[in-house]
């Protein structure tokens, strides 16, 4: 780090400290942070778990997960669609390339024995913690994306410490992960339309993405099983989303881990496989 960079860093720190002093003492007319939340937020906080107002409440104690899958469920639907389009784009760029004919050899491929043994223990723990984060998403901080992103670290670790040939040997391939992702997305679609289908069969009215009974739509998911809280449709959404997100990330890592000489062979037209 040369002296030019030290001068830049010190001058920017001094600029920030003096500018905030000027704003505080000079006075901008209001005080940060603000003393009250807005009306919309106050309504969400009062109805996220309210057994006295069952017609307006989402019956899930976790505020953020209830907003993501119940109050604003359509936003999450389109965000899942954008993520899926990005994965399809990446698969389309790397089409026609695969590694066949190289068998996994424990002595030549991968890192040392200590790393492999430790990774075997750690990978199981990572997947267990990620499953717990995803399934408790309606009670504690967590949910589908959180569990899926945490569970996507495990295939990355296995790819780096063992090698891609090991992943081919145990059957984790791009097509298998695409199947798992599609199954997760079908699960999300079915849960979104479940109340509508049941209401159509019994001549009632229902909304898409409906979670609890609402005015003029008396059907909904149960929010309690015995004494434990189920969170309605949030439990199914979280579980399906975890599989979809983890499988999507695994596809990207499998495509990134292809060695360059195989890719160059395909680009020069010597080999092409589906």
């Amino acid at each position: 780090m040369g002296s030019k960079e030290v001068v830049i860093v010190v001058s920017v720190i001094a600029f920030v400290l003096l500018l905030s002093l000027a704003i505080t003492v000079g006075g901008l007319g209001y005080v940060l942070p603000l003393p009250n939340v807005r009306e919309v937020a106050s309504w969400y906080l009062k109805t996220t778990y309210n057994p006295f107002m069952k017609l307006f409440s989402a019956m899930a104690p976790e505020g953020v997960t209830a907003i993501v899958w119940d109050y604003r469920g359509l936003d999450t639907l389109f965000e899942t669609a954008v993520f899926f389009l990005a994965i399809i784009g990446s698969v389309a760029i790397m089409r026609g390339i695969s590694l066949k004919g190289v068998k996994y050899d424990p002595e030549k491929h991968g890192m040392s024995l200590i790393m492999k043994t430790v990774t075997r223990i750690v990978v199981v723990m990572i997947i267990a913690v990620a499953g717990s984060i995803a399934l408790h998403g309606h009670l504690t901080p967590g949910g589908g994306f959180q569990g899926g992103a945490a569970a996507a670290v495990a295939p990355l670790l296995v790819l780096v410490v063992f090698s891609k040939y090991f992943m081919d040997k145990i059957g984790v391939s791009k097509n298998a992960m695409l199947v798992i992702r599609s199954v997760g997305l079908i699960g999300i679609g079915l849960t979104a339309f479940a109340v509508v289908l049941v209401a159509l069969l019994s001549h009632g009215q229902a909304y898409v993405f409906q979670n609890q009974p609402k005015p003029y739509a008396p059907l909904g998911f149960p929010y309690k099983a015995g004494t434990s809280l189920l969170g309605g449709s949030l439990l199914f959404f979280n579980a399906c989303e975890m599989f979809a997100v983890a499988a999507g990330f695994t596809i990207v890592f499998l495509l990134l881990a292809l060695p360059e000489r195989e890719v160059i062979k395909v680009l020069r037209g010597e080999k092409f496989e589906h």
């Binding site: 720190i13 920030v16 997960t65 959180q146 992103a149 990355l156 990330f249 990207v252 990134l256």
Partner: protein, 91 residues
């Protein structure tokens, strides 16, 4: 020393640490060092999300920005060039 001053003081310190890490990451010519400083900035942000009482965002941000982004960009650096401006060495 009331708890409010302690919490806000730690927030201000983390803001300055993240600013220093960002400036060094942008000005650095060796791309591996830039990725490491970007991961330091992400760690400061992850602690900030805990102090701002947003645990859901924290649980997404830690695997994504400290684990997945540096890993993917390191894959990319290994397959392309390591130094900015070609293979002439930096400083």
């Amino acid at each position: 020393m009331n708890p409010e001053l302690v919490v806000f003081g730690v927030m201000a310190l983390l803001g300055i640490i993240s600013m220093v890490a960002t400036i060094i990451a942008i000005l650095e010519r060796d791309l591996v060092k830039a990725v490491i400083f970007s991961a330091i900035q992400s760690t400061a942000y992850a602690f900030m999300y805990y102090l701002l009482m947003a645990p859901d965002i924290d649980l997404v941000y830690i695997p994504v920005a400290v684990g997945l982004y540096p890993a993917v960009i390191l894959f990319l650096i290994k397959k392309t060039e390591r130094f900015e401006g070609g293979e002439e060495s930096g400083k």
